[in-house]
């Protein structure tokens, strides 16, 4: 399995806006969080969404972000978080 990030590691979500079926939500692009789990490899939804085979598979991570880092005007305490499931090719070292 192609795993380049480990739990605890800080990662930044690519700040990129390509067309197509993208399962990385807009609100989280460009944000920095840390990996909490490695879920394994799954077929690439960006290809499946085009009616293409989902290979090669992509490693899927659970990434945790502090809400205060995601929303500038977040109205809750700093320890509130949001976990987003993100495929490896959308993450880079932070």
């Amino acid at each position: 399995m192609n795993v380049i990030f480990q739990p605890g590691q800080r990662v930044r979500v690519r700040d990129d806006y390509p067309p197509g079926h993208i399962r990385t939500p807009f609100y989280i692009r460009g944000k920095v969080g840390h990996v909490t789990r490695v879920f394994g490899e799954f077929e690439n939804p960006e290809r499946l969404g085009m009616g293409l085979p989902g290979m090669p598979k992509k490693t899927l991570y659970e990434v945790r972000f502090r809400q205060a880092d995601v929303w500038p005007n977040y109205n809750g305490p700093v320890h509130d978080t949001v976990d987003v499931d993100i495929y490896q090719h959308w993450l880079e070292k932070a």
């Binding site: 993208i22 990385t24 939500p25 609100y27 799954f42 969404g49 899927l60 949001v82 499931d85």
Partner: protein, 272 residues
């Protein structure tokens, strides 16, 4: 029109619907991803009410002005508006039937099987986890395998259980569409699929929780899970205080659907 709102990313990729069958019930107007109405073939001859909102739960007729009077014996068609994707779904269903990929009977059975899944299944899992800490550990590590122990086959779903504790409260959303742990909770409530919930729970969760009557202390971490990919989340609510010694069945009755989505807590009022 609700039928369209799931399509913000432009594809009919039905990643939450394992069986891809259409659904034949009135409360499914707001289904995303090309779900169509499996049983009723009334499209094409009904009159439509363009401004009518079909995003309600149970197909009950609610009063609205009629542009014309009905005579006593006039056929009253169901009021339906088919979105582009619903029509696409219907066409696909008809093609699959014509090509004998599956039969109407198989389709009917698949719909019926899906409709037998209710939140009671999730509650059974939760109650077992509350009474058996070893099971809980296995559930949190590998929910699919733990479900199998209880005779629950979640199929191709990758289920993840997340535990509410004294310091962490979990709540689930799918901001991209409406992914939901259907294998253990059944069909999602319509509010779960609404744009309002999807947008607000991720950006102002405490305000939304408060509207559901769930007020959490500041010291707790509210942890939102956005199920953007292959995993489906089941919240394991905290066991209410004062329920020591209750049977597993009695405990299961305290586990409401919303507590497994994370917008509420398990009922603390002990029933027996």
């Amino acid at each position: 029109m609700a039928g369209k709102h799931e399509h913000t990313h432009g594809h009919d990729h039905d990643h939450d619907h394992d069986h891809g069958h259409s659904h034949g019930h009135g409360h499914d107007h707001d289904h995303q991803h090309g779900h169509s109405h499996g049983h009723d073939n009334d499209h094409g001859h009904g009159h439509s009410h363009a401004a009518h909102d079909h995003d309600h739960d149970h197909g009950h007729a609610h009063p609205h002005p009629h542009p014309h009077a009905h005579t006593a014996r006039e056929f009253q068609p169901d009021e339906k508006i088919h979105s582009y994707y619903q029509i696409l779904g219907l066409a696909l269903k008809e093609l699959l039937l014509e090509k004998k990929i599956f039969t109407s009977q198989e389709l009917r059975k698949a719909i019926e099987a899906r409709d037998t899944i209710t939140p009671a299944l999730g509650a059974k899992i939760v109650a077992r986890a509350w009474t058996d800490t070893a099971f809980k550990a296995r559930l949190l590590r590998d929910a699919n395998a733990a479900c199998k122990e209880l005779g629950i086959d979640v199929g191709p779903t990758h289920l993840v259980a997340v535990e509410n504790t004294d310091t962490v409260h979990n709540v689930v959303v799918c901001t991209l569409c409406s992914c939901y742990p259907r294998a253990v909770l059944g069909l999602p409530p319509s509010w779960y699929k609404s744009r309002e919930y999807r947008a607000r729970i991720v950006s102002e969760p405490r305000s939304v929780l408060k509207e559901f009557g769930t007020v959490l202390p500041e010291y707790m971490e509210v942890r939102v899970h956005d199920s953007t990919a292959d995993m489906r989340y089941l919240v394991l609510p905290a066991r209410p205080k004062g329920t020591e010694g209750m049977s597993e069945d009695a405990l299961a009755a305290l586990v409401n659907r919303d507590s497994m989505i994370g917008v509420s807590l398990a009922d603390s009022s002990a029933k027996s």
